[in-house]
């Protein structure tokens, strides 16, 4: 009889697993009895099934699962300098903290050693923050590049997004600080002159950190911002 084997091709799986309706099963039975090809294929199926269970699982030879499967090797702990980030975060917190004191009790906080005019101080702060921001950008840029080279595909993008998010947050923080300073400066301008002499005589212990900041600024070294900004304890 003629057979295009289609029925067996289609259903041999289910036939062997016993999942066919009685009607289809009967048809297959008939095919297997009457088509030589289908008959032998069915035999091969059963034998292959049996053979597959005779495979002896081999132990995987030792291999370096990170070195060979994760090329190039990624050293996760190295790509971001957490210390630097903590310091910069701290610096921003301190500046914000000091600014709050300015607005709450401005007479006490602006004690930069008397000789500085408010304008000079503001300029120094501006340039300090700008150079600090630039240094921060550069350092993050280079870290980002290193990270990009080392990371793969989407894990790379993951980290990049993460860095980008942090960086933009940091930039927003700095913008916020600078804007705050500028608006505060105009409001304070008139009162500052009157208060300067009083302020000069009222050094507050609390101002040690911000004094260090402006010392480093007057030394003209923005790079030292990190160390001079680092609080003694926190």
């Amino acid at each position: 009889m003629h057979c295009n084997h289609q029925l067996v091709i289609e259903h041999i799986d289910s036939y062997i697993e016993g999942n066919l309706s009685p009607e289809v099963k009967r048809e297959i039975d008939h095919m297997l009895d009457n088509c030589k090809e289908c008959h032998s294929t069915h035999q091969q199926y059963l034998e292959m099934h049996q053979l597959s269970h005779q495979w002896q699982e081999q132990d995987t030879p030792d291999w370096h699962r990170v070195k060979y499967a994760v090329r190039p090797p990624v050293k996760q702990s190295n790509w971001l300098n957490w210390g630097a980030m903590a310091t910069s975060t701290m610096a921003i917190l301190m500046v914000v903290f000091q600014l709050e004191i300015v607005s709450a009790d401005r007479g006490l906080t602006i004690s930069f050693g008397g000789s500085q005019t408010e304008e000079k101080i503001a300029n120094l702060v501006d340039s300090q923050l700008a150079s600090y921001k630039q240094a921060l950008d550069v350092s993050f840029e280079s870290k980002l590049n290193v990270a990009l080279e080392r990371q793969d595909n989407l894990s790379k993008i993951r980290h990049a997004n993460w860095i980008e998010k942090n960086r933009s947050e940091r930039q927003q923080d700095i913008k916020f600080v600078m804007t705050g300073w500028q608006s505060q400066r105009y409001e304070d301008q008139k009162q500052v002159d009157q208060q300067l002499s009083y302020i000069a005589d009222n050094q507050i212990e609390n101002n040690q950190a911000i004094n260090q900041l402006f010392q480093s600024v007057s030394n003209g070294r923005g790079r030292k911002a990190n160390s001079s900004l680092r609080p003694n304890k926190l």
Binding site: Q54, W55, Q56, D62, Y68
Partner: protein, 196 residues
């Protein structure tokens, strides 16, 4: 089998940078992949190369894994792609033409021992195992790469036609025809009977 960490947990941690989770994930599946590679290639050296290719691709594609408990199938799809590439490149490589291929039956002991120096293998049982495995490989090697793959995935990995279709991108109907043809082809060699 109870798994302390689900695949998804290990994957998440590995993506977060945990080397240990990645190694844990690899160790969970490397036996499966390695034995698959052994059947798909001629010798343990090729199998190791192919397995490393597979896990390298798994690692690179891990962030795009969106499965819910489908990691094995997802991984085997990568394995299927890598196997196709591997066999194709070997086909082009004159050193690997049929008949010139160095087979495990000749070099296996040296290769296997040197690669698995930390394992101690009972030589007698090892020989018996590799002999049986050798016969299975000889049967599979009668088939074209396409046919070999569908037999492998169906009989040795017990995937459904639908799953194999997802892994290979080949339609269910084509796969069914391929399996029929592959099995039909083997009867001429009566390799299966000899192997059993």
């Amino acid at each position: 089998m109870f798994q302390i960490n689900k695949d998804e947990t290990l994957i998440d941690k590995a993506l977060g940078g945990s080397e240990r989770s990645w190694v844990g994930l690899v160790k969970r599946y490397e036996g499966l992949v390695y034995n698959y590679c052994l059947r798909m290639t001629f010798n343990s050296s090729d199998a190791m190369d192919l397995m490393q290719e597979v896990f390298l691709a798994v690692y690179r594609n891990l962030p795009s894994y969106r499965g819910q408990g489908q990691f094995k199938g997802w991984m085997m799809r990568i394995a299927a792609n890598k196997t196709t590439d591997f066999l194709r490149s070997r086909g082009r490589n004159p050193l690997h033409r049929a008949g010139e291929v160095t087979d495990d039956s000749f070099d296996n002991d040296g290769l296997f021992q040197s690669r698995a120096s930390s394992h101690t293998i009972d030589p007698a049982s090892h020989l018996a195992q590799t002999n049986k495995n050798q016969q299975i490989k000889e049967v599979l090697n009668k088939l074209s790469d396409d046919h070999k793959q569908v037999v492998e995935l169906k009989f040795f990995q017990h995937f459904t036609f639908e799953e194999i279709s997802q892994q290979t991108g080949v339609s269910v109907n084509t796969l069914k025809t391929r399996l029929y043809t592959a099995l039909n082809k083997l009867k001429g060699f009566s390799e299966i009977q000899n192997a059993l």
